[in-house]
């Protein structure tokens, strides 16, 4: 079996070295690259083609959560575990909503890292036990999304789905028999309610909630 190819993304070289040292000791794992911020990470993914990215949140220029969105948009098959100093559940939920497969505080990494990687590579979601105990789970993140979705009017939801399906404003207007202006106004309102302002984000949101199917 091929070893799991791992990309380390952290702005602290010392931390990267520590994690690399840990991973190296584990059979079946291989660190294929290191990046100091989100932008570098995106560039490296393309060249080193990792299976998994260990992603820090607080980083200069492009932070981890933004990078996560980018990664999940451009490389939907690359799995991401957030490895961070932050231990607040809000970070974990945000990370899971953003498409991370795992969330582990750095403090616990030395104990949990192997299990986290293995769980994620097995196609499941890993949440550090402390946070899991605090109620953080993939289901919870989904419930959060669902809650957001419930705030949309039926018409806004309809339009969200059409946007996620890649339809243009004009096409949406035609299919719903309303003017482009009206479509735009609905779109503005729904993005405001969801707090998601880019098409990719809206698409991912729709996919996560099963509103559209990935071909």
């Amino acid at each position: 079996m091929n070893p799991t190819r791992i990309l380390l993304v952290d702005d602290h070289a010392l931390v990267r070295a520590g994690i690399r040292a840990l991973i190296t000791m584990i059979d079946g794992f291989e660190v294929v690259g290191e990046a100091g911020n989100g932008a570098e990470a995106l560039a490296l993914i393309e060249t080193v083609n990792p299976d998994l990215v260990l992603l820090d949140i607080t980083m200069p220029s492009m932070n981890g959560l933004t990078a996560l969105n980018e990664i999940k948009t451009r490389f939907p098959n690359v799995r991401v575990i957030i490895l961070t100093m932050h231990e607040a559940r809000e970070y974990a939920i945000q990370a899971l909503r953003g498409g991370a497969a795992g969330f582990s505080p750095k403090r616990a990494a030395s104990n949990e890292l192997q299990q986290a990687i293995e769980t994620v590579m097995a196609g499941k979601t890993y949440v550090s036990p402390e946070l899991a105990h605090d109620g953080v789970s993939a289901e919870q993140a989904a419930a959060y999304d669902q809650e957001l979705l419930n705030k949309l009017t039926p018409r806004q939801r309809e339009i969200l789905i059409l946007i996620a399906e890649g339809k243009s404003m004009k096409e949406i207007g035609r299919s719903l028999n309303i003017s482009v202006k009206t479509v735009e106004s609905h779109r503005a309102q729904l993005t405001e309610r969801l707090g998601i302002h880019d098409v990719a984000g809206l698409v991912r949101f729709a996919i996560r909630l099963g509103l559209v199917r990935v071909e």
């Binding site: 520590g18 607080t58 809000e90 403090r107 705030k151």
Partner: protein, 654 residues
């Protein structure tokens, strides 16, 4: 009407003379009168007149003269009768018959008591007429009630008529003096009235000679000059010019005016009172002249106007003082009428606006107030009409050169005899104050900003640098532990727990200073995180609700909102005894609205905002933060009703 040629004599005297001449004449002409009476009352029986008349006439020898005499008696207004010793009428003239409404024959030959009332005869007529028979001329007044005219006042004169040395008859002349009595009484009352006025007048009234002596003076004048009585004044003050006039030359002026115009009005002169006190007196007088134009005396009135003059001077002085205050006030002072046009303005108003007073007066206030404050100015105007209060508001004055100055206007209605006649107000230039406020606001905002920046920097430093270093150490320790021999393991574990502890402390400290969530996850996530922590620590069950995701709001706004929520919740934990709290965030109409509520004991919002306690400072701090991002805070709380702090921040302006 009874007439006498000597009009200067009193009518009583004339009456007596007439009567005596009658008595005298009667000696000669009595008998013929009866005959002529008989003639006028034709068909009358003359039997009762049986004695001497014919002889008398014969003796007089002048028939014509007697007849004339008869006519006179007949025509007299006086009632005339002749009575004999038996009290029988021998003769009665027309006036007597008419007043008793009887005919000649009903009188002549009858006893007096048959015509008059018996009692009256006994008590009044008889005693008097008896004296006349005894030779006296009797004169008395009496009241008699006539059947036709009622009570009349009569003057009665009884004259004995001698005949051959004996008095056989008495001539009675009765004159009705009722009207004259009445007129006399009226005259007496009128005189009394004028006397009263003269005596009791507040003004001094006088008659004086040109030479300077008083002819008459009333008590008021005496008092004015310091004397007890008019007599005292008249006796003691014999030289008006020297004794009364403070400056004798003024008297000369007075005399000249009198000679030239014959009158003076409001002539003011300083006079000495008897005690030497100087008084200012105002005199109105005229010269009374005889037919040839020679001045007889002066008469007039005098009024002590010392007090009035003093009061006038005091009033003038106080007016001057107020004018000075008005003029020298640093604040502009104005007055406008009910139509809003200025009727007065002071120098400060000129300086404030740059307009001359002449340019201000008569103009409407809307010419001087910046248009966006006009509505408020008008509302304040109307408010004053409804309620008699002073209104204070801020506005902007438009100066002549076009600049605008912030001012504070305080104004109130002015009344004249209970009627509103206008508005008076003061206008204070508050440019300096405004500048100072702005500077203070800027400082306050900068201070808050600097504090946040500093906190963020330290928080990051702790969290990202020290925290990461500690993390690296921990990772290394873990690696060492894996490859190390068993005997070092316990020391490594110990070291790792030390590192863990340090990490926790660093993280806590960092979050206390500034939660990284605010920067990385946004306001709502930070509020959720904070309220969860807050619930645990305070025991107040706190939730966060939001209508929609709130992101993409300016950094300063989310910081301000987060800090305000933090402060409000801290206040709740300290004072409210609440069991539940809620933080809600919504974005609506371009505004961010953050509301923090609790179900605690509440507080008097006004008291806290104005007070100086630490809690008040907490609320002040919130206000400052809201103001710094262009927003404002509404505090809605009352004792026992929980508390609600609402922050409203416009989003587009920032």
């Amino acid at each position: 009407m009874f007439r006498t040629p000597a009009s200067q004599l009193s009518s009583d005297e004339a009456f007596s003379r007439q009567s005596s001449s009658l008595v005298y004449n009667r000696g000669h002409g009595r008998p013929d009168m009866s005959r002529s009476l008989k003639q006028t009352n034709s068909g009358m029986n003359s039997a009762s007149f049986s004695d001497a008349p014919v002889d008398l006439i014969a003796r007089a020898g002048d028939d014509e003269k007697l007849r004339e005499y008869e006519r006179v008696v007949e025509e007299l207004e006086e009632m005339i009768v002749v009575v004999d010793r038996d009290y029988r009428y021998l003769l009665a003239n027309r006036a007597y018959l008419e007043s008793h409404k009887v005919k000649y024959e009903e009188v002549v030959g009858r006893f007096v008591w048959e015509v008059l009332d018996r009692e009256y005869f006994d008590q009044v007529v008889k005693p008097n007429i008896d004296r006349a028979f005894a030779g006296q001329s009797v004169k008395y007044e009496t009241d008699y009630r006539y059947s036709t005219q009622g009570w009349r006042r009569l003057l009665v004169l009884y004259s004995p008529i001698e005949h051959d040395g004996r008095i056989e008859r008495v001539a009675c002349v009765l004159r009705d003096i009722t009207e004259r009595k009445r007129a006399n009484e009226a005259l007496r009352l009128a005189e009394q009235k004028y006397r009263d006025i003269f005596e009791n007048a507040g003004e001094g009234i006088f008659q004086s000679t040109r030479e300077g002596q008083f002819i008459a003076a009333n008590p008021a004048l005496a008092r004015m000059c310091g004397y007890d009585s008019p007599e005292g004044l008249i006796t003691n003050c014999t030289d008006i010019q020297r004794q009364l006039y403070a400056d004798p030359r003024v008297r000369e002026e007075y005399l000249r005016a009198m000679e030239t115009h014959g009158t003076v009005r409001g002539f003011e002169a300083e006079m000495f009172r008897s005690d030497g006190q100087k008084r200012l007196v105002s005199v109105n007088a005229r010269a009374v002249r005889d037919e040839s134009g020679r001045t007889l005396y002066y008469e007039g009135t005098a009024l002590d106007i010392t007090e009035r003059k003093n009061a006038e001077a005091a009033l003038r002085e106080s007016e001057e003082r107020y004018r000075e205050l008005f003029e020298n006030s640093k604040d502009a002072i104005y007055m406008h009428d009910l139509s809003g046009r200025y009727v007065s303005a002071n120098r400060a108003a000129e300086e404030l606006t740059g307009y001359q007073r002449a340019e201000i007066l008569g103009k409407h206030y809307s010419n001087f107030i910046s248009p966006r404050y006009l509505r408020e100015a008008r509302e304040n105007f109307c408010r004053k009409i409804d309620l008699p209060i002073e209104t204070i508001y801020e506005a902007e004055v438009v100066c002549k050169n076009g600049t605008r100055k912030p001012v504070e206007v305080s104004s109130r209605m002015i009344y004249k005899e209970g009627q509103v006649i206008g508005v008076q107000g003061t206008v204070r230039d508050i440019s300096e104050r405004k500048r100072a406020e702005d500077v203070l606001k800027t400082y306050s905002r900068r201070l808050l900003e600097a504090q946040e920046v500093e906190r963020q920097k330290i928080a990051r430093e702790l969290h990202d640098e020290i925290g990461q270093v500690l993390t690296a150490v921990r990772l290394n320790l873990q690696s060492i532990k894996i490859s190390a021999n068993g005997n070092a393991e316990s020391r490594i574990d110990e070291s790792m727990s030390i590192v863990d502890q340090a990490l926790r402390q660093v993280r806590e400290l960092s979050l206390e200073l500034r939660p990284s969530l605010l920067d990385e996850l946004g306001l709502v996530a930070a509020l959720r995180w904070y309220s969860a922590r807050y619930s645990l620590r305070s025991g107040i069950e706190t939730s966060v609700t939001c209508e929609s995701e709130i992101n993409r709001i300016p950094h300063e706004v989310s910081t301000a909102c987060f800090r305000i929520a933090q402060e409000a919740l801290t206040n709740s934990a300290r004072h409210s005894k609440a069991t539940k709290a809620n933080v809600s965030v919504e974005r609506r109409n371009g505004e961010l609205r953050l509301t923090i509520q609790d179900n605690g004991v509440g507080f008097d919002a006004g008291l806290f905002l104005n007070g100086m306690g630490s809690s008040a400072l907490g609320l002040r701090g919130m206000q400052e933060r809201a103001l710094a991002v262009g927003g404002h805070i509404l505090i809605n709380s009352d004792v026992g009703k929980g508390a609600e702090v609402k922050v409203i921040v416009p989003l587009k302006k920032i």
